[in-house]
Subunit: 469 residues, 2 copies
């Protein structure tokens, strides 16, 4: 019979084959922690006004529970298991001759793409990890272990500086080198509310911090060893002098100061806050840990931006005149001689929430239509935000914007949405560079490839606009 | 009691919790296929003249077996299991109005980083996968499934065009859309032999091909739908007009034509060839499949470049004169008034084979030393190749080059090696953008941070030189 031990299943089959497999992620279905998270996610979905039996979201509680448990599996992993068996004897030099190989030869691995969960708001953040260490005692560690050890601490609820410190100190403890240096370039998704977005639609972006941690000869962060290490980062275009955002404003949810938390709490659905508290506990964390105390309120506050609403969209009384002819104030008829033309509005930013994983997706909307007069950009941006701030899928968002614009301009509309999906960089998939595009084509754009091509050719190159990495 | 079924372990514990976990990679230890691959790798290592009990390589047979079985697990995966449960109802539009959402709204996911194994030479190759599909029947598929399905076919012994076709046709079959388009940008490591490298040391590089596959409305690869799809790739800087290498010369091992195979075979260790044959069979493939017939010979031929040799390195009779003074041919004494200075040789290409995983690593070596006269570049390049063409680790390679150059110049040497490791992009780690740097510092470079800094600052930026992605 098999045995369960610290999240792993062990058994010896009749033929003597030894089985050992992690219970995560395949084994988590039905575990009490998973079920507790699923229940909590149902409370959150109901708090958003969603029908939890709706086809698109009925498995969302399980998907969220699976992603969260997989994304925090580092609590159950042991660095010892990773490093042991991957320390290799490697000759060095006599200190009088110099430093090389297994004695003093600096080893640097750069640009490891990883993600972690922000302890302040429970959203995933991504980071590039750069690790250096100086071997000692004539032994070196397998290069991939530097990444695997970093991942053990990434797969927890984290803060960038603590993450760097924990990676550094674990590597130091298990490799026993002369020193370890860790640099993390972290990127947190911005955190606008619908309210702030309507005020300033350019708020989309990233909060970035660069953190360092050093042990042994790297404890002095102005020492020569840091100079060598940072030089080797620079060759790869990694500039550590960058003025990144300060760590204090790292997580945008922190703009809810703790003083304000209690008053906000009163306005929030307390069942939802309790549900997030239960999620944190189910992940094996202590919700009373200082850094986590305000997390449920911050998470719920952010989530409520995506509340389902049955309000009709307000078009601010705007009626778009396609009219070829129009009347002046004095009643004189003005014949509009301008031909109908292709009008284009590009790079309208949007922000939305994937209904399958309760994770953000974000990017830009490009709109083309035939008409005489351009629709005001502010109106198009409002339409984009209205459909964005919901539990969504990109395909539906594209169709809804297209239909709404179509109702204004009489049917000839093309929409392209370019997006990055947090659910593609986190979970088990971790496709850091991927991006998604969707199109809707209405009226003559549907029938006329030439019109589509003309619009598509006029769009800006988005290769750096919102890349996930 | 648990049951084994197609590479998965199923059990119901006493508390009713259902367990299901893949046997790969954790469960493969001790399986007959794994043991057979381990035995075959031992034959290969012995054929290279290695002591299979040497500390650095004694676990190499297991590491190679684990990597190969994990890297070919796609043979046991079912697309149905991935796509089922991830098809979501999504409204579209009436065809008279246009195309959007679940009926006709093109969805494109770009820049999925994946790797596969080349069936021609058994080395991993990496590729960027771009997938588009046009939903039909009011349903869409979860975005991550496009990546997961591509990975099922990537994790097999493959050829780029077949890979594209299989991904395309599997997505078409299970999603039942109006059409699927797949573009793969594949990159295969070049394949020089020590011999060709000594003739032309600039041979390092990549063999690149771009392949497409289309189904349904994408079957006509000059149709309008391809135009839309390619436009959306272009926004991300993906240029499909690139003149990439032809598919015929895709795998550099193919330069061994089949006509030559039998004559080469005679020169190779037949035990090694049989061992590779056994590996292919253990992965679940048929070694008699047409494309695989020459693979064992090609693999062994390539591997033999890294044969252990006890020959002393030939320095071509070169004796490096550090001498301040020297004699002209006519016996006249020339007093050299030039001061000793920092001499630098950068970007000496190297090629090596990771002894832990039997996978290539490659990159550039930068050398600095104090002297009056520069060492000829060809000599430094020979030293680099001599230590490169072996089973190696980067830390040792760095030390060995440093020691050899030191013996020529009298002790003041600094070496930096910048490398990409195939074992960091394949296996379970898949860190596509990562790179490794190592340093050795001898003599005054060891004691004087200023001398190190002067050298390091003079090195070229390598951010595009050999990036793994």
């Amino acid at each position: 019979m098999g045995a369960l031990d610290e999240g792993r299943f062990h058994a010896v089959l009749a033929n003597g084959v030894k089985l050992e497999c992690p219970l995560q992620p395949q084994g988590i279905e039905g575990q009490p922690e998973t079920l507790a998270i699923q229940d909590a996610v149902k409370v959150l979905l109901q708090g958003l006004g969603e029908d939890i039996n709706r086809e698109g979201i009925k498995k969302t509680p399980f998907r969220v529970a699976k992603a969260l448990r997989e994304g925090t599996k580092g609590y159950k992993q042991k660095v010892k298991d990773i490093v042991e068996g991957a320390l290799f004897p490697e000759a060095g030099l006599d200190a009088a001759v110099g430093h090389a190989g297994g004695v003093g030869g600096l080893v640097v691995v750069r640009d490891l793409d990883l993600f972690s969960y922000c302890e302040s708001c429970l959203l995933p953040f991504q980071f590039k990890c750069h690790v250096g260490y100086i071997p000692s005692g004539q032994r070196v560690v397998g290069l991939s272990k530097l990444s695997r050890v970093a991942d053990v601490f990434a797969k927890r609820l984290q803060d960038p500086q603590r993450l760097a410190n924990e990676v550094c100190s674990a590597l130091h403890h298990w490799i026993k080198p002369t020193g370890v240096a860790v640099v993390l370039q972290c990127r947190h998704i911005c955190f606008p509310s619908l309210e702030s977005f309507l005020v300033d639609s350019n708020r989309q972006g990233w909060s970035k911090v660069l953190v360092r941690s050093g042990s042994g000869v790297f404890e002095d962060d102005r020492g020569d060893h840091w100079g060598d290490f940072l030089s080797l980062l620079k060759f790869r275009g990694i500039n550590t002098d960058n003025t990144e955002d300060s760590i204090a404003s790292w997580c945008p949810s922190q703009s809810c100061s703790s003083l304000k938390l209690s008053s906000i709490n009163g306005q929030l659905n307390s069942g939802m806050v309790t549900a997030v508290d239960s999620i944190i506990r189910s992940l094996g964390e202590d919700p009373l840990r200082e850094e986590l105390v305000g997390t449920p309120i911050r998470f719920v506050k952010w989530l409520m931006n995506f509340q389902n609403t049955s309000l009709e969209m307000k078009l601010n009384g705007f009626v778009y005149g396609r009219g070829v002819d129009s009347l002046k104030a004095n009643g004189e008829l003005v014949v509009n001689h301008k031909p109908e033309r292709l009008l284009i509005e590009v790079n309208l930013s949007f922000w939305s929430q994937c209904e399958h994983h309760l994770l953000p997706f974000y990017g830009v909307v490009h709109i083309g239509y035939f008409g005489f007069n351009p629709i005001p950009k502010a109106l198009l941006q409002s339409i984009v935000h209205f459909y964005g701030f919901k539990l969504q899928v990109q395909e539906r968002l594209t169709r809804q914007i297209a239909e709404t614009v179509s109702s204004l301009v009489g049917g000839d509309v093309i929409i392209v949405i370019e997006a990055g999906h947090t659910c593609m960089i986190s979970r088990g998939i971790e496709k850091f560079g991927s991006s998604t595009a969707t199109i809707a084509v209405l009226g003559r754009f549907s029938a006329d490839p030439g019109a589509r091509a003309k619009f598509l050719q006029s769009l800006p190159n988005s290769s750096t606009a919102f890349a996930a990495s």
